[in-house]
Symmetry: C2
Subunit: 456 residues, 2 copies
């Protein structure tokens, strides 16, 4: 176990009031200076004095590690602060706090671990790193007795991690459902409101800079999955990694699906769903299920009205009931705002010689998707003749999948059957689909979308 850092100010506590006499100066080492890092420098400059008056800490940038010093940047700092050696920034004894915004696993992981080992609090927005090595980093922070804060890693500027970690630590959270990827929410909003097809909506998102040229991480759910793993770890106090997350992308969603959903009183959203049984009985690690996929939500659900690139996280707790946190999930300025909130917190703790620690997390037990119960929307083309419906519904019954509603639309020689099931075992639904595909009267399963937020 590393040494706890000595409080910087061991005598009288500094005054946190507006007219604090003693302002403690702390130097930040910034690793990475892209979109978010640049915005952070600007926010710090604009609010340094106000922050000092309100908190008693004055934050200045002590060094900035970048890939290329010569690149032109829209950042107003002394050129001598830039270096291409991030390790030198971490090691620099003048640097009190480290902000990691370089992304990816290495060298970010190694740099964060080293900073913690040196007793320096770390603020990171690196969801990939946290979703794969979060337990190792939290343990290192715990051993060193310093802060590891990462509000910016999930849902951009929305204060979410802190409320989950602190306000709700005593709450028995049963489910978290969120829209945490702005790109897919933008695409689905365009499809719903302007009748755009998937390809056109994606192209528009790309032209606006909401989607990358290679949109895989967003549209296939990898980005949302990493965020879901981080949320799950915080909510249930046990490690969930990116690889634990079941994911399905949105590329298969059609304009027809969205129109049909709307007619039935639903909207289609790409959501993350985290369910579990909190550590109530202390009987081994909590069991958690974590998944991301398109889902049909009732139009009256608070998440249903989250439009464009906005994010929102809906939390269901035993005592607190339903909560929702809504805001900008991405963008340099909102994300830097989250980093700045963490920075101030870490700085105040650093001065007081304390830290808000998560501790050593054990691995959560991951509940496989096959064991979950979910309601389904299923659309299939069948031959339009007597007896077909009986053969189809018989397959549902055989697998103990209970039908909640059905409608039939003529399509010439074929008919379109649309079913919404009651909550049913996932494996049973998949087995039903498999059997249905084998039936000669079924010409094709057109759409399979889970229905959530409408518990029956």
């Amino acid at each position: 176990m590393g040494a706890r850092p000595t409080p910087l100010n061991s005598g009288e506590a500094i005054g946190p009031g507006r007219y604090a006499q003693l302002v403690q100066q702390l130097k930040i080492g910034l690793l990475g200076c892209g979109n978010v890092g640049g915005a952070l420098v600007g926010q710090l400059d604009a609010r340094r004095a106000a922050i000092a008056r309100r908190t008693g800490v004055e934050l200045t940038i002590g060094a900035i590690a970048v890939r290329s010093v010569s690149r032109d940047r829209d950042v107003d700092v002394d050129a001598s602060l830039f270096t291409t050696d991030p390790r030198s920034v971490v090691e620099d004894p003048e640097i009190d706090l480290v902000v990691e915004l370089i992304g990816g696993i290495e060298p970010a992981r190694e740099l964060v671990l080293r900073a913690l080992e040196l007793g320096k609090p770390v603020i990171t927005g690196n969801k990939e790193l946290l979703a794969n090595h979060g337990a190792e980093l939290c343990a290192a922070a715990d051993d060193a007795g310093v802060d590891l804060l990462f509000e910016a890693a999930v849902a951009g500027g929305i204060p979410l991690i802190r409320p989950l970690r602190e306000s709700l630590v005593g709450e028995n959270v049963t489910r978290v459902m969120g829209i945490v990827n702005g790109t897919t929410n933008y695409i689905l909003t365009q499809m719903a409101e302007n009748g755009a097809g998937y390809a056109d909506a994606l192209a528009e998102a790309q032209s606006l800079g909401y989607a990358e040229r290679d949109p895989t991480a967003d549209v296939e759910g990898y980005d949302a999955g990493a965020k879901a793993a981080i949320i799950a770890s915080i909510v249930f106090g046990a490690t969930v990694v990116a690889g634990d997350v079941y994911h399905e992308g949105i590329a298969g969603i059609t304009a027809v699906d969205i129109a049909t959903a709307e007619r039935l009183g639903f909207v289609i959203k790409a959501v993350v769903i985290i369910e579990g049984q909190g550590d109530v009985d202390g009987d081994g690690p909590p069991e958690v299920s974590v998944r991301t996929h398109p889902a049909m939500l009732p139009a009256s659900h608070p998440l249903a009205s989250v439009r464009d690139s906005f994010n929102a996280v809906f939390v269901e707790g035993e005592s607190v009931g339903d909560l929702m946190f809504y805001g900008r999930g991405a963008g340099g300025e909102p994300t830097a705002s989250a980093v700045l909130g963490d920075l101030i917190d870490a700085a105040i703790n650093r001065v007081a010689g304390t830290a808000a620690r998560i501790g050593h997390l054990e691995r959560a037990r991951i509940c496989p998707i096959d064991d979950l119960d979910t309601a389904y929307y299923l659309a299939m083309e069948v031959i339009d003749r007597p007896g077909v419906l009986a053969r189809v519904t018989d397959e549902f019954g055989r697998h103990e999948v209970s039908i909640r509603s059905m409608e039939q639309q003529g399509m010439g020689d074929d008919a379109l059957l649309i079913f919404i099931t009651h909550r049913s075992n996932e494996a049973a639904v998949q087995a039903t689909l498999h059997s249905l595909r084998e039936l000669d009267v079924v010409h094709g399963i057109r759409t399979v979308i889970r229905v959530v937020g409408d518990e029956d």
Copy 2:
């Protein structure tokens, strides 16, 4: 200045992980055991072990002060814990933390001050006390170096105060707009969705227990105003008291107003609006305006879909953009959940010998309502004959109130004129209304509602 409390554990820090070896036991003195207090006792019992595993603190109830010991309570605690002497609970050296849920100003104020003076962290849900004596209490907490936490005082179970205090302390918040009174939101929802009149909707709210038999505090905006004062103080770091808040109630809203608003694409909500210029330049205390009144919100605004007795607070920040916090604003269990989150935070801080302090707040400068700019919806009955519209619009022009849209409906000999203005000076709008009432062609001003959330 009082002595800072000695850390309870001055050696190695306790482990906050699941398998912490050293669990610190802390005793709570509970003042008041009604709806919220009873729910808190139940939540503590259900989650004591889980909280201890996750945080390293074990919380037990050490004493409960109530008005009558003999009253039958649905609370499962040892009868010997009850007393009718709250001061003895505060003074008891066995009591580490005090939870104040008795409400009202005295003796709550005196008890909270004494607890702080004794170095005991205080958790309170008492909005009346905070909205009138918050600065005195915060200063006392600061002097003693202990926590004064009050998440439960505003918006029930919604984590709001902590995100505002901590996550957004570095943000330049420009406006907060909230639905913080569940009773009025329930009444307005019933009127909008079921076409109920105000009196019927109020009676229904009363029969469901959402409204008191004397509903004045809710429907006249006193409850919302107290919460707005607390939010404003936290957001702008300067004292705003209940008396600073401009308020108008909802009793004048009619079913016709709501139907007209809907036709024009608006909903009518009772909101609090807090605007100001943060302490950016350090040039004296911040100037803040705080008000609560019915308002027309665009149907697409996130607050517009907050239904029934739910609360939500919408925050606009320079960097973070738009945020919203949504959930249950009242009720024993949600409010107790907020108290429990604060209790755990205070307990962890108590063990570490630290506190999250607000400091000595100076008085905010209060911007009078007359100086604000607001858009208005105005409906008036006029004589239906040529030249009347010119005389009416001339009054707007004379007072420099710019009209954004107008419509006219025939009503027999009279016509109904409906105006929506651009953002205009409040005093100028009031002067316009005064002049219009003097015109012989104007038979009556039927409705005056501010329009917000739709900046032009």
